[in-house]
């Protein structure tokens, strides 16, 4: 039973104004093509959750999609600041809710596991908890000591980019795993963007590689190069030059608008975006070949 649909159709069907969205991927597999489609569809009022908002949410906030941000590290990784987010927070335009990485991921772990909360050892740093009432405490019933807890995060929609999946949404991921699996299980609806659609037999040849089972997936979209300027391990490299360039582009709302006009509104889809990047970029981002050695599952 195929769940294969176009990315515009998947966004239209599953994501609505005002939803809580988790676009997943820790530096790796960030679904930029989906963000661009959301921007093109003019969806607004979203609460955007990600451990690391990265450029993807800097762009979505600049485009007016969001009313609130839930995050744990708001930097341009390896470069510096996320200027549009920072400006929106400093000006009071954007609401936010903040965690440490482990607090954020523990929220997803609770959401994915159907748990009412996840405990964490205390860190002694209480300023953030004093500003975020979602951080609470319980008493350890074995020792009487204080334990910090966070509640489940259960997004309306997760968008998750993966290397390969079959048309039913059984998805395999390698390289940095981030929060891909937890985001899928925590969310009400799951849109998968897929670098390569493969036959079910490929998935079944290595079931331990499957990170997300089709049963929790609502839509499967075939979107090669979806993750640029982030990357897809084994398919293309991280575009560090663009991460640096964004530091310039994002200095003013005007230059961001010009970027969006040219690279988002001015293009129909990711294929056009990738072509527009041109052969020099394609060449620079090529990933060579370094194959895993196989394992034997046995014929029983």
């Amino acid at each position: 039973m195929t769940k294969l649909v176009s990315l515009p159709d998947a966004i239209r069907t599953h994501l609505h104004d005002g939803d809580l969205l988790y676009a997943s991927g820790f530096t790796h597999l960030i679904p930029f093509a989906a963000a661009h489609e959301i921007i093109r569809q003019g969806i607004t009022g979203l609460t955007l959750a990600r451990a690391t908002p990265d450029l993807i949410y800097d762009q979505m906030v600049a485009a007016g999609c969001a009313r609130k941000l839930i995050f744990s590290y708001m930097g341009n990784p390896g470069v510096g600041s996320l200027r549009r987010l920072r400006a929106a927070i400093e000006s009071g335009e954007l609401a936010w809710e903040e965690y440490s990485h482990f607090g954020m991921i523990s929220r997803l772990r609770a959401g994915a596991s159907g748990l009412p909360f996840m405990p964490m050892k205390p860190t002694g740093a209480e300023d953030l908890a004093s500003k975020n009432p979602q951080y609470r405490q319980v008493s350890d019933p074995y020792t009487g000591e204080r334990v910090v807890v966070v509640p489940p995060l259960t997004p309306d929609v997760a968008i998750i980019h993966v290397q390969r999946a079959d048309v039913q949404g059984n998805a395999q991921v390698w390289g940095i795993l981030g929060e891909q699996q937890l985001a899928a299980f925590a969310s009400q609806r799951v849109i998968l963007t897929v670098e390569e659609i493969v036959d079910e037999a490929v998935i079944r040849s290595d079931p331990n590689r499957t990170v997300i089972p089709g049963m929790v997936v609502d839509a499967v979209c075939h979107v090669p190069y979806c993750a640029h300027p982030s990357y897809t391990q084994g398919y293309y490299d991280r575009d560090n030059d663009f991460y640096l360039a964004w530091d310039e582009i994002s200095k003013t709302q005007e230059s961001v608008q010009a970027y969006l006009d040219e690279w988002v509104y001015g293009l129909p889809d990711r294929q056009a975006y990738w072509e527009k990047l041109g052969p020099e970029v394609h060449e620079r981002l090529q990933a060579g070949e370094r194959l895993s050695q196989p394992v034997n599952y046995g014929e029983y």
Binding site: G124, L128, K131
Partner: protein, 254 residues
Amino acid sequence: MDSQHYNSQELMVVNAARLLKDHDVVFVGVGIPNLACNLAMRTHAPHLQMIYEAGVIGAQPARLPLSIGDPSLVTGATAVCSMYDIFSLYLQRGNVDVGFLGGAQIDQFGNINATVIGDYDHPKVRLPGSGGAMEIAAWANRCYIITPHQKRRFPARVDFHTSIGFLTGGDARASTGVRGGGPQAVVTDLGVLKPDQHGELVLAAMHPGVTYDVVAEHTGWPLKKAPDCQVTEPPTAEELRILRDELDPQRIYI
């Protein structure tokens, strides 16, 4: 190769590397800490193990990683795990010996602010926030901070506790129940600060040619000098060669 001359970055990397021990498991970011670890591995700590908060263990990157999630960290690593697992099975469980920390402000007791300058709800300058720093500062056995020595970076008290050092000193840290030992050294371009028995950062060593007055002038509290305050050994020709020729030939971080 000019081993008589070295810049501030090189000086900090070399002095940070010397704090690492063989067999240390280090939770490491990109940039200076990454260079320090790699330098230690090529000199006195060949069995040092680097783990990244992105969930990569035993990386052998073929190039200098530019983000903590660089694909070159993964290819050829010994293990990759999810973000939940790296924070729980490794860091919270107590499997990490050393964490590196940084931030806009480091105070007299080694507390760090990487969150906000001014009021949290109406920020004057909004900084990136904790990431994993809150947990690293609490749960790694030892923490090190590497930062240029500027007065605005060393206030007496931070505006916001993103991660803790020794709080207000004395047994304040221990009473929170955190397991790690807290910051053991702050390596700057002027020298090395270390906590005294009360958890207050004092001047433990100065780099060659630096005077106490200069360090004190760049520090936002009345800086005490440790009784056994040292002068650091200058970077050796071999340390500089490894750093310049092998680790960062394009001079991205040094």
